[in-house]
């Protein structure tokens, strides 16, 4: 129906975006009737998401003509943004942004670098940027989940943690079990994605490869490769961030800083 109304591809795309946004807003209004207020967060996220992705699309058009090494800067920029966004899940934990950025840089950066070096990811910008951004985005989500869970666990168990401190325990040891459960829960989506691959969902990259004429078997195998890379980078990011964040919830005098009253 839409196609017959719009002759330009961009106008057609904007119309599609408008319909998808209306649908999302309808769900938000439905949530509002149940006293769940997502309006401002969701509206900002929708507008922001559209602007960002259109901006990146425009940059990609320019980058297609740029030298291959320039993708490193774009990926580094994505890592910085991912660190900043996921650190918001660790409200009131000092140094969370630094921890998030370092963890995502190490987790996503290392996996992307090794896989590019091994020839699994092509160095062409059209390949490196989409695959790299998928790895970074998933590392960001995992990091956000891990930090959010860790924060909740520490807040919920402040009494136990301070009891252990009062008995002379090392601060990092008092929160070790909460860090472990945070790593575990943060990796559930990545593990479930791998588990349900091809059965519950056929991811976008594979669809794109099929549309651009790749062999279905190769597209399927490469999609597995990407999801496995995502699991590796997410796991490494989650491990590093929970390991580093442990020290940040305590003062130099080994006092618990993260309290419910904050």
């Amino acid at each position: 129906m839409l196609k017959s109304l719009f002759h330009s591809q961009i106008a057609f795309g904007l119309a599609q975006a408008a319909i998808a946004s209306v649908l999302a807003l309808a769900v938000i209004l439905l949530a509002r009737r149940r006293n769940i207020h997502l309006e401002s967060d969701a509206a900002i996220a929708l507008v922001r998401g559209l602007v960002q992705i259109v901006a990146v699309g425009s940059i990609l058009v320019l980058l297609l003509k740029a030298p291959r090494w320039s993708s490193v800067f774009l990926l580094a920029g994505m890592i910085l943004a991912a660190g900043s966004i996921s650190a918001r899940r660790a409200k009131n934990i000092p140094g969370a942004q630094k921890v998030s950025t370092y963890s995502i840089a190490a987790g996503a950066g290392l996996v992307t670098a090794v896989m590019t070096w091994a020839g699994v990811i092509d160095t062409a910008i059209t390949s490196l940027i989409p695959v790299g951004s998928m790895i970074i985005a998933n590392a960001m989500n995992t990091n956000g989940l891990a930090l959010n869970r860790f924060r909740s666990e520490v807040l919920a168990h402040a009494g136990e943690i301070e009891t252990a401190l009062a008995l002379g325990a090392a601060p990092e040891n008092t929160v070790a079990s909460y860090a472990e459960s945070s790593i575990h829960s943060s990796l559930i989506p990545a593990i479930d994605n791998l588990r349900s691959l091809g059965i519950v969902w056929i991811p976008g990259l594979m669809t794109g490869m099929l549309l651009s004429g790749s062999s279905p078997l190769y597209a399927a195998i490469y999609q597995f490769v990407v999801i496995a890379m995502i699991l590796a980078s997410s796991g490494l990011t989650s491990l590093l961030s929970t390991m580093m964040i442990r020290a940040h919830v305590f003062s130099p005098a080994e006092q618990l800083l993260l309290k419910e009253s904050l």
Partner: protein, 233 residues
């Protein structure tokens, strides 16, 4: 420093000088100077929000003072590594927060932090002292409130503290359990002459247990003296 009635300065095990803590713009503890003498049980009494527990948390450095000093055996406690300080100044809180597992592992927790293993006979001895002989292998999930608080006391004692801080240890207990834990505290202090500070909102409890009492109000030390002087008969 306020003089502690009848206490020569050298008898003080724990001493605070103009101790204060500010949270935001509010001083929750302000300018408190007092001394806890060797072997005494000093009561800290006051209504809810008077800063009693906040004051106690400054004594083992679970919170950082904004101003003033704390001395343990005349040594500035900032010079003592926090883990060592907390081993020397034990604490029992209103809620016991026992660690999941059996009672023996709870009692072993403190010494294990220093790489020491608490022998079975010492565990048995501690449980005897808190009136729960033979409880070592019991799971903490199956204990009553009073029993949990007794284990919490035994766990603090397993660290062989020089000072014991008691933060409303009976306020979450029913009357019967409260009387039992109170009697236990009295016995422990009398038998071992352990220097202790008891925070309580219950003036009668302070009368029953303490020889000296400090009254706190709005974070400030209002009165310090013998129980009879401060709270009457």
């Amino acid at each position: 420093m306020n003089a502690s009635p009848g206490v020569p300065p050298d008898a003080a095990v724990l001493r605070t000088e103009r101790l204060g803590r500010r949270v935001g713009e509010v001083w929750i503890v302000s300018e408190i100077s007092l001394a806890v003498q060797r072997g005494e049980l000093l009561g800290v009494v006051g209504p809810s929000g008077s800063g009693k527990s906040s004051f106690l948390r400054l004594l083992n450095r679970l919170d950082e003072p904004t101003s003033g000093m704390v001395f343990l055996e005349d040594e500035d406690y900032r010079r003592i590594p926090p883990r060592q300080l907390r081993r020397r100044i034990g604490m029992v809180t209103q809620r016991p927060f026992l660690f999941p597992g059996d009672i023996a592992s709870n009692l072993r927790f403190g010494p294990a932090q220093r790489g020491e293993t608490l022998p079975d006979n010492e565990i048995a001895g501690l449980l005897e002292r808190v009136g729960l002989p033979g409880f070592a292998s019991r799971n903490v999930a199956n204990l009553s409130g009073g029993e949990q608080q007794r284990i919490s006391l035994a766990r603090a004692l397993a660290n062989r503290p020089e000072v014991l801080l008691l933060d409303e240890p009976t306020s979450a207990l029913d009357e019967q359990a409260k009387a039992g834990v109170e009697q236990l505290i009295r016995d422990l202090i009398n038998q071992s002459s352990l220097t202790s500070v008891l925070v309580t909102h219950d003036r009668d409890q302070a009368r029953r247990l303490c020889r000296r009492v400090a009254i706190l109000e709005a974070g400030r030390l209002l009165q310090l003296g013998t129980t009879q002087e401060v709270l009457g008969a």
